[in-house]
């Protein structure tokens, strides 16, 4: 039989209709495929842990979890952009107090937490205001990574310098710097990830014991106290390693590990596994000490937030439980160095024995550690100005005046204002 063009057209039409029909039939099936996207910091720790758990989660639930990882500053920006533009790309987000601008878009978790009894076994106090995030009195964040800013010391170098590492204040720390450097000119007092601009505020909050919000409800620093802290930071910056003003986390860790710096001021979860790695020259020769005062050590309380646009909230909660729950805590700590919010980890006899050099200081500091009550914009302004003070671009007096002038124009979100009252960050 001869095939005509008409037949060809007819066959094509038939095929098209059939494909459309198959597509239409398959559409609901595709739509029913479970998946979610999880935004997290690209730290080589949190993101890697999420990727590792995502495979198991898919095997267990059939739901695909896409891990979208970004550096801290970009993560904050992407999370906020995603919500305020209605893009709704991420159903579960990682973050902390700096997402205060979009708290209203997060699902209250109280019922989920209660249903699964998820507070049972958490380190005491982690769900308090100023540590975990609330909106309108409802819990909106669930912790999965808990860290306290730390000071790690090289036992040999401090012994050689005759320095007692029990620093009560940052002035004590500064005084030790001169002693350490006078003993060995090749050793800097301390290293720190100076290249990450957001880190400098750890020194500020560590020394500054004033308020952050004035009587009128505006962001404002106590001038005298803030200037004194600014002067201290400018002095401290003179004791960094040579060319140490833009060090990455890895560079700062390496300077301490290799004995180029006697102390390291950083997040322990970013350093401790590296310092204790096989072959590390400092392994067994360092320990963490209590964070000096009179301010507070910063708390890194990474939390999971469920976005209100998430189509399948039960699935989102399942992922949150999988990632942040107690079952994953030990693996997350041992494989990826994620500081756990679960008490059971710190009660584990083997781990406890291994971490006699760092856990006691961390756990002792945890009760006084807290978050800042600043929005992202206010925090950026503080950090950038502190860096200018540290580098001598501006004086502490001018810097603090500039911070207060800029902060006067920033709105304090109600949720942070409430927290500020509870943690004593408001001028009386």
């Amino acid at each position: 039989m001869k095939t005509t063009w008409f037949d060809v057209h007819r066959v094509s039409l038939g095929l098209s209709v059939a494909m459309l029909a198959i597509g239409a039939a398959a559409a609901p099936a595709i739509a029913q495929d479970k998946s979610l996207t999880f935004s997290v910091m690209a730290s080589g720790t949190y993101d890697k842990a999420a990727e590792a758990l995502a495979a198991d989660f898919q095997a267990k639930t059939g739901a695909k979890v896409t891990v979208a990882a970004f550096p801290w500053a970009i993560l904050r920006q992407n999370n906020i952009t995603d919500v305020v533009t209605g893009t709704n790309q991420y159903q579960v987000m990682s973050g902390g107090f700096y997402l205060a601008d979009i708290y209203q878009h997060f699902v209250p978790l109280d019922d989920y937490i209660k249903k699964d009894n998820m507070t049972n076994g958490l380190v005491q106090g982690l769900m308090d205001p100023g540590r975990s995030e609330y909106f309108n009195g409802k819990q909106i964040g669930f912790p999965y990574g808990t860290d306290v800013y730390g000071v790690m010391v090289n036992d040999d170098l401090l012994k050689q310098a005759g320095v007692d590492a029990n620093f009560k204040t940052w002035d004590d720390f500064l005084a030790a710097c001169s002693t350490i450097e006078s003993k060995d000119a090749g050793v800097a007092c301390f290293s720190h990830p100076t290249g990450s601009p957001e880190q400098i505020s750890a020194f500020f909050t560590g020394d500054y014991d004033g308020t952050y919000i004035d009587k009128n409800g505006h962001y404002a620093l106590n001038v005298d106290k803030a200037v004194a802290t600014g002067k201290l930071i400018a002095e401290l910056w003179k004791h960094l390693p040579k060319q140490g003003n833009a060090m990455s986390f890895d560079e700062a860790n390496a300077a301490f590990r290799d004995g180029k710096a006697a102390m390291l001021v950083t997040w322990p979860s970013f350093a401790n596994a590296f310092l204790d790695a096989d072959g590390s020259p400092i392994k067994g020769h360092w320990h963490q000490v209590s964070f000096p005062g009179p301010g507070f050590p910063q708390l890194s309380q990474w939390q999971l937030f469920m976005v209100d646009s998430a189509p399948d909230k039960d699935l989102a909660w399942d992922w949150m439980k999988t990632f942040a729950g107690p079952q994953a805590a030990k693996a997350n700590y041992e494989k990826f160095g994620i500081g756990s919010p679960w008490q059971a980890l710190y009660d584990d006899a083997d781990l406890k024995a291994k971490h006699q050099h760092d856990w006691p200081a961390k756990l002792a500091d945890l009760p006084r550690a807290q978050n800042l009550v600043l929005t992202g914009e206010a925090l950026d302004f503080l950090n950038n100005t502190l860096q200018d003070i540290a580098n001598g671009r501006t004086s502490p007096e001018d810097g603090v005046a500039a911070i207060n002038a800029a902060w006067a124009n920033f709105t304090v979100p109600q949720t942070l204002a409430d927290v500020a009252v509870k943690v004593g960050a408001v001028e009386k």
């Binding site: 920006q77 305020v84 533009t85 601009p197 140490g244 833009a246 200018d388 003070i389 580098n391 800029a406």
Partner: protein, 309 residues
């Protein structure tokens, strides 16, 4: 055949109705519509939002009309005022350096010898690398403690500077990177312009006994002035609006040391979501650039008229 006849018939009818120019206009309409929708609408919309109070984190809808409040806020924004000065320093330094270096390279690589052609190809390479990659590569190269540049300096006994950590050097560093990236653009334009200079004029000067320097300063440079001004205009505009290099190397730091205008607009609009304020700064920047461009174009026109005279 039938289709062709129909098409011609429609075309004839259209030409009778709206004329040849009308048909041309009709063909251009889709393109014009796309330009209007994709470019002018956002531009006008951004002008509108620069007069309202809109912070995206507070509301997804633009707020009330506030007149010129966003523009007057610029006068009290200490970071912005510092940023404007720094951006001009950056743009002028980068433009001057890239124009001088680009011209010298072009002048000495005129010709078609294989070695010259290979040199030209190599010199163009930085321009074809994505700016984000350029910034990332340079950030690693300029790393004070572990970067290859400082390793080399230490190797020859020169004190190694803290390129990105010292506030003054950080500005110099981004100027160096910008010059490295965009000198090839200047080079390409000047190379083409020098090649197109009338050879009889240059030969006549040689015959008249002009030295190479006299030929350069009295013939080549004056003849290249209109092209040079265009190059300066493009480079200045590009440098005034630099964002990618700053973003990838210093992220505006240390402190506020390398905040440029575009970086501050980006911070205000896309990190702090102060959309209306960012729009106001953008419009002020655009007006500033427009005045600069008009000034340079008028100057160029005068030079061209003088040359023709």
């Amino acid at each position: 055949m039938q289709l062709s006849r129909t098409t011609w018939a429609i075309a004839d009818w259209l030409e009778r109705k709206i004329g040849e120019r009308g048909i041309l206009l009709a063909f251009m309409l889709p393109a014009i519509a796309i330009i209007v929708i994709a470019q002018f609408y956002p531009l006008i919309y951004s002008l509108w939002i620069s007069f309202v109070d809109w912070t995206l984190t507070k509301s997804i809808e633009p707020g009330p009309f506030v007149g010129v409040a966003n523009y007057s806020k610029m006068a009290t924004d200490s970071v912005l005022l510092q940023t404007i000065g720094r951006t001009f320093v950056f743009a002028i330094s980068s433009t001057a350096a890239s124009v001088i270096i680009g011209f010298i390279l072009a002048y000495f690589t005129v010709g078609e010898r294989p070695a010259v052609r290979i040199a030209r190809t190599i010199l163009i390479l930085p321009m074809v690398i994505a700016p984000v990659a350029v910034g990332t590569i340079w950030r690693m190269m300029l790393s004070a403690r572990v970067g290859p540049i400082n390793d080399m300096l230490r190797g020859i006994g020169v004190p190694a500077p803290d390129w990105l950590g010292d506030p003054r050097l950080a500005v110099l560093s981004i100027i160096i990177i910008d010059v490295w990236e965009w000198t090839p653009f200047v080079f390409v334009i000047f190379a083409a312009a020098i090649s197109s200079l009338p050879s009889e004029v240059l030969r006549a000067a040689e015959v008249d006994g002009a030295t190479p320097l006299q030929i350069l300063f009295r013939i080549v440079l004056p003849m290249l002035a209109p092209v040079g001004l265009l190059v300066v205009m493009f480079r200045l505009l590009d440098a005034l609006l630099t964002l990618d290099i700053v973003f990838t190397t210093t992220f505006g730091g240390p402190g506020f040391a390398t905040h440029t205008l575009s970086f501050w607009i980006y911070q205000q609009g896309l990190r702090y979501f102060n959309i209306s304020y960012a729009a106001a700064i953008s419009w002020a920047t655009m007006l500033g650039c427009l005045i600069l461009v008009i000034g340079l174009l008028v100057w160029r026109a005068r030079i061209s008229r003088w040359q023709q005279a």
